[in-house]
């Protein structure tokens, strides 16, 4: 885009480059506050954890390939299965969706130059990394969490689970919640306040609606988990009585608080996938989303209703009938906003002119799996059905269709879709399609037979099973499916790695996308946009006049904001241009502060209270360092 620029415009671009340039090398990555670099850090870290969780999945499937196997010992199986769940949910899906996709794309889509709080953003990443390493330290020292991802007491209590395994879990999740809460707050303020002038709420991309809903759900759901884990630690470490029935406590308290977090969590996992689907579908069908306001409201509504259905995870624990009936009815209501979105995607596909490139294939796979997983999901709202099948493989089948098929497929499609934007290279289309089909077939083969073994009565979390009960061939198919699935994922990684080095050079907008990120170069410059765009519809890239006006503004020097590290802030509803903000640039404080928090948690775990207080003081000192230099003094 620098080809035909007149000299003044070129001078402005040069000045922006100078102002926004960050340090190179490792130090640059450690101190970065650029949302794109932080997004990439999140991406690689969460993909590493995805690898770990995937290996754990393959170990589980290998153990269950045939009856009476002993690939894993019973204790190792417990840890592997717990860590598979913890890793995939807390260290892969949430970080890759909010941390990687959200971080990289939300500021670009709303025409901002960074997140609202760039240093807090870096802090979220380093705390996430610290919490992941913290939990995995438990695994590598032989104390991996082993009471299942929802960690029910009394199995998780000190009596039945001595040793630090559960402490790694409880402290690790509180630690992780700090990161997710900080990130969620950052997203909400970014989406509310940093939108380009003219992008009123009704013109905001549906992707951002999904992330807004996710962030609100995180803000209100995570405290329940943190409180629960604090209770558990107080019980385990200081002998409190929250979960001790003999002393007035109650084990169901754990389950209530866990699922008050845990069910919104399901929508936290899947809403980013909805957001990605609503980005990819319009691009490859060449038409606007059907029922835009309905889809936006449905995204918010899913997150909202998610807070009122938690006890449907507890139908088998003996709650009163009136309670279970309420929660069964509430759970069925979730069907309505889900179906609104589903039919909006389908109608958009059917009435558009779909081009079946790799990203769209993943979205179609997602729709298929979402329908299957959704149908098995509403079955559980029928209380007798749930009581019959709870804790069987039918549940495992249901939530893998939702969490892998429906939540992860769009993430993988999104990896292909935005790969040219992030790297400036094109992926290989043929290999991309092959990786999709392998993963699709592998997933169906892995997870579909689980319905049947579940109906046949195979309990989940079982270490092994006897021969001759009719489960053998299904389990064999599942294990074969798991390896095909893994092959598809490996092919995806190979495709992207090779394309990064050898792929064809990508233009700014290789797919004719609708949202603003496609208007800047691939990869985007550190300042994102030379001119802060002005927006007049929800599909700003299809408003050709507006984008030509951006170029004219660069020549005139309007909305270039090149006097410092600057970006505009707007009003919340209408996005009227309100203020020019001076953003902080690279800073060592986020990582230092995160290190001190890591120290605090490590010392709580090992019981060194004096050392913990030292880290607490250092934490306060690093916060003072963080706030000691104000933006205008930098």
């Amino acid at each position: 885009m620098t080809i035909a620029l007149p000299p003044e415009a070129l001078r402005r671009v040069r000045r922006l480059e100078r102002v926004w340039e960050e340090r190179q090398g490792v130090l640059g990555w450690i101190t970065t506050t650029d949302h794109k670099r932080i997004g990439i850090l999140y991406l690689f870290t969460s993909l590493l954890f995805f690898g770990a969780g995937g290996v754990e999945a393959l170990l589980i499937r290998t153990q269950l390939i045939a009856p009476n196997q002993s690939t894993l010992s019973p204790a190792a199986f417990d840890t592997t299965m717990t860590m598979h769940g913890v890793t995939m949910i807390f260290l892969f899906v949430i970080p890759i969706s909010t941390g990687a996709f959200g971080n990289y794309l939300v500021p670009l889509m709303i025409g901002a130059r960074d997140m609202a709080f760039p240093r807090l953003n870096a802090f979220s990443y380093w705390v996430f990394l610290g919490s992941g390493l913290f939990i995995y330290t438990g695994v590598f020292t032989g104390h991996g969490p082993n009471a299942g991802w929802f960690d029910y007491v009394p199995l998780a209590s000190r009596t039945y689970n001595p040793g630090p395994a559960i402490d790694f879990y409880a402290l690790g999740l509180i630690f992780n919640a700090i990161s997710s809460t900080a990130a969620a707050i950052n997203f909400i303020v970014t989406i509310f306040k940093m939108r380009a002038p003219g992008m009123s709420l009704n013109r905001m991309p549906l992707f951002c609606y999904a992330f807004l809903a996710v962030s609100f759900a995180l803000v209100f759901a995570l405290p329940a988990l943190s409180v629960d884990c604090v209770f558990l630690e107080l019980d385990r470490r200081l002998g409190f009585s929250f979960f001790a029935p003999g002393r007035g406590g109650d084990v169901l308290l754990w389950q209530h608080l866990f699922w008050i977090f845990g069910h919104p969590e399901v929508y936290i996992i899947i809403l980013p996938a909805f957001g990605i689907a609503t980005s990819i579908i319009p691009t490859f069908t060449r038409r606007r989303m059907v029922a835009f306001p309905m889809v936006a409201l449905a995204e918010i509504l899913v997150a909202f209703i998610g807070f009122g259905v938690w006890a449907h995870h507890m139908f088998a624990v003996g709650l009163s009938t009136i309670t279970t009936v309420y929660f069964a009815a509430a759970s069925m209501i979730v069907v309505i906003p889900s179906a609104i979105q589903l039919f909006a995607w389908l109608t958009t596909l059917v009435t558009g002119r779909p081009i079946f490139k790799t990203p769209l294939l993943w979205i179609i796979g997602f729709i298929v799996f979402f329908i299957i997983g959704g149908l098995s999901g509403i079955m559980f709202a029928a209380i007798p059905f749930d009581q019959q099948l709870t804790d069987t493989y039918f549940v495992v089948a249901h939530f893998h269709f939702i969490i892998f098929g429906a939540a992860v497929f769009p993430l993988l499609g999104g990896l292909y879709y935005w790969f040219p934007k992030v790297t400036g290279r094109m992926y290989h289309e043929g290999m991309g399609k092959l990786s999709f089909w392998l993963t699709f077939v592998g997933s169906a083969l892995t997870f579909f037979p689980m319905h049947i073994v579940g109906l046949l009565g195979m309990p989940r979390r079982q270490y092994t099973y006897p021969a001759g009960v009719g489960w053998d061939s299904y389990n064999l198919f599942e294990t074969i499916g798991a390896y095909i699935l893994a092959a598809g994922l490996v092919l995806l990684v190979v495709n992207l790695v090779v394309s990064y080095f050898r792929g064809a050079v990508a233009e700014a907008d290789p797919f004719g996308g609708a949202t603003l990120e496609w208007s800047t170069s691939s990869p985007p410059p550190p300042y994102n946009y030379a001119v802060i765009p002005t927006v007049s519809s929800a599909y700003p890239m299809w408003d050709v006049e507006d984008r030509q006006e951006d170029v004219r503004k660069l020549n005139r020097g309007e909305m270039v904001l090149d006097e410092g590290h600057e970006t505009p802030a707007s009003t919340v509803l209408d996005a009227n241009f309100d203020e020019i903000l001076d953003m902080p640039s690279d800073s060592p404080w986020p990582i230092v502060t995160a290190l001190m928090i890591t120290g605090i948690f490590a010392m709580i775990l090992t019981g060194h209270l004096v050392a913990m207080c030292v880290f607490l003081a250092l934490f306060a000192a690093s916060l003072a360092g963080w706030h000691g230099v104000e933006p205008q003094e930098a």
Binding site: I188, V189, D235, F242, R247, G248, I580, L581, E630
Partner: protein
Amino acid sequence: MGVPRSMEATYDSAAARVDRGRLAMPNGWWGAALFIATELTLFGCLIATYFYLRFNNPHWPPPGVEHPKVALPLILTAILVSTTVPIFFAVRAARAGNARLTWLLFFVAVLVQGGYFGIQVHEFLSDLDKMSPHDSAYASIYFTLIGAHHAHVVVGIAIELWVLWKLFGGLTNYRMIGVRVAAFYWYFVSFLAVAVVLTQIYPSL
């Protein structure tokens, strides 16, 4: 265009002008509002747990544990809540560009809050002598809930001390937002104090 550059507000009257000229609340205020939202949820979970456990126990507090005091906690809470008055006027002074008055009002608030905290620590320790969280779920949630509130008072005081320290150099846009956030946080801690104290004295009502 009349849109202010926040970085240029480096002295009292400029910071006040920028603050009054905004159409929307500043980013820092929104960040604080959402942080407070998660904190409120956290206390919502704690208070919900209190009543969940209460309705799972026939005796509340359990036999042998004395009922909580009523008068002293209520008086202490009233004192804490009264500090929102100087804080309210501190924000008005800051928004009028008067850094010295802001400092003075925050200083008054922090003195009272410090005294409140001292008495509360004493009360907390004497309660620990009377009952132990090892013995009952009642004592467990009692100490957890009240301890969590005290921790928030400490954080609030720490934020105020930081604001007091920064205000020696006069107001800037950054500090103006700091003043407003510190005040917002104290309104929240005061609201919590009422919710927590009503829960605390509930068995004696």
